[in-house]
Amino acid sequence: MKALIIEDDESVRSALERILKKEGVETYCTLDMEEAISLSASHKIELAFIDCLLPSSSGNDFAKSLRERFDENELKIVLMSGIFTDRQFMKDTVNETRANGFLKKPFTIEQVKELIPASSRESSSHGEGRRESVVETIPPRKALYQLFSRIKPSYRDKKKSIEALEEIHGFDLPFLYSLLVDSKSSGHLNIVNQQGQISGISISNGVIVAVDVPDKESFLGKLLIEGGFIHPDDLDTYVLNFPKRMGQSLIQNNLLSPHAFEIVLAEQMNIRLSKTVEDMGLKFNFVEAEVDLSYPNIDSTRFETFLHDWIAGKISKSWLRAHYMQWLDTPIGLGPGYDPKSQVLKMPLFLHLENIVQNTVKAKSLGDILDQKLYPEEAFYKALHYLFCKGMLVFKNNVEQDLAAAPVNTKLVKIMDQIKGKNSLELMSTLALLVGTNDQDHKTTYKVFMSFIGQEPNAEVDPAGHALHQNLRRIVNEAYKILQNTGAKTKLREEMAKNEIEGKLKASQEFDIGKDFLSKAMYPKALEVLSRVFKVDPSLHNIRIYLLWAKIGNLDRAANRQGFLREIEIEFAQIPLEQRYDALYIYVQGFLLKAKGDFVSAKKTFEKALTADSSFVPARRELALIDSRIKAEGGDLKNMVSSFFKRRSS
């Protein structure tokens, strides 16, 4: 028997092909109307599976054209849809097209087999107890994040979930690393970013033992010089002669101690691992292999700190919001990794988020806890993401329930809010994040998104919901249509690139103005300018730290000093690890200590900033101010310490 498949979703098409071939049915695939008619005639096709929603035409039109030429006895037509699945629609469509049946997606193997005439099926022994399996059309990225929802995901489950992925976002890496560490994997994770740069990590039984990221700033030689371990002249000699084994050569020639080498290697590993978590799409694969445990390394305990820092400092709020949209209506429960006594809950991310776990699992859904506004939104998303990465929280519902019709309005309002003001490309990127897809031509994203929002509410029962639904569909359809036009898409990209460059240039100039305000202690103006700059280009070097400096400078002007201080401390916890090494960060830490009245610690911290950079003027100035204060109070450091402790005990 021969069958025709008219389906643009590759995963559905290949699943159907597989099922049909197993039953001895020869399959042909096309998306072209003329070819479909020609194939049906020349190859005596007896069965056709047609998706209702095709990119450039309607599946119904395909069905009607075929039916005009082949009657019900010659050709059995089965329509398919994952979006339009209510009874009346199916009945009307089947009648209109004179199809023989309708297959709702996701479908089971048995459902497909039932559509094949028994006489046409080749007998194939399936063995007893063969399980019926649902043909999964859930995006692999979403399936990965739902892994911990399974009662006891096996090592194979985890391995296959990772293998199913082709492209992810850099901000997905913390979860992926966590999964590899948690499942005590061994092998090499190879990564290619959008620029074609190849990097990777090696892991030995859940311990990260190597990080390969071509990065000049953390070049070993540079770190050795910055740490004061070797002289630049010695480095030049060894870089030239022993580029790959420079460290070993330096040790062998007594220019470096093994201990110092290990310290610097660890620092390099830390910096480079952080750099893999970047705001861009990337491809990866995992090669299972025996990997020797070596030192230095990042074991699960140290990894928890890294995970915390990446989520706190690198993953953006907008990414998290879009990512969690797909689970807005899903309740949350305790996961296999949950331990009420875990030290994790004492980490800075959880500072001031009292009872976050209890309140989250008590809530009806993720949307519900968000609506309660118990916590600052960004801090909540970050803490939540950490808990999900560690498997301490899980989404309770199973896969099918996620796709079922759910209260629509809340979802739609939040989606509209996220896509407001965005151009077509930005809109589809947001939707891709939302539904967990990552396709270049947006077709899968479009289809999955349409399935995600389901059918529009009845206009008589829910007129507001109906209008909202229609409006959203119209906006998404328009955006999708524009992006199917290659010329328009290219023009849009070019415009975006131009606007981005212009915006970043202006932000960069304003950044200098903001820094200048800071140097003159003009904190309100500095805060105004730097807040504006941060919105345009959050990637500017150390912008977060400068912003914190401005905020601390405005602490005394805040209406709610304590609340503002709490926010500042939460934001401090979000500074990326690799930005904590230089004088600026240390100085701002000192500035915060001073603002809190801890002059002893502030003085020490400012001195530390000057050790890191002796030319750092603000640190010198603050030290001078503290010293003047001490003199004015008529005491020396010892007296200051005494008075500090007296204040503390009173």
Binding site: E10, S14, S124, E163, N190, I198
Partner: protein
């Protein structure tokens, strides 16, 4: 040479046969195995056990030295197919795959098996002609243990 990697290079006129086994990583010095000037290069990759990101970069640098050769990758294990699919240039434009392994798995017995797909038999320029039925030693049916759309992507290039 490191015990974890082995490369045998045989020259036969302007044809070079290369058999690799073991681990391809940062310790491999491919400059020891010159392939410039060869007109045909046959690479038997069946013995490769693993490859990391450093190894991928070194491989691409090495294979690009034979821009004028006709290159054939033979008996590619899954880890090599994964790199061909993911990394631009891992299989150069002057290269083709003559055979590669496809993992199969039986849900009933939990057994795994690698089946060799050869050009002209299980695949051609027109597509795949997968084996009708694959069974393990216990007689249990096995299915392809890959995401087909992803694994066979390189065949479309």
């Amino acid at each position: 040479m490191s015990a974890k990697f082995d490369l045998k290079l045989q020259k036969d006129g302007d044809k070079v046969n290369v058999t690799l086994s073991g681990v391809i990583d940062e310790d491999i010095d491919f400059t020891k195995y010159p392939i410039e000037g060869a007109k045909q290069i046959q690479l038997n990759l069946g013995g490769i056990k693993s490859i990391n990101s450093c190894g991928i970069r070194e491989w691409i640098k090495w294979i690009n030295k034979a821009k004028d050769a006709s290159i054939v990758y033979d008996q590619c294990p899954k880890i090599i197919v994964d790199q061909i699919n993911m990394v631009e240039g891992f299989l150069p434009s002057n290269g083709r795959v003559a055979s590669f392994y496809v993992p199969y798995y039986s849900e009933e017995s939990g057994n795994e098996k690698n089946i060799l797909f050869t050009w002209g038999k299980e695949f051609t320029d027109k597509g795949l002609m997968t084996p009708a039925a694959v069974k393990d030693e216990d007689g249990s049916e096995m299915e392809m243990d890959v995401i087909e759309a992803k694994y066979f992507k390189f065949l479309k290039k």
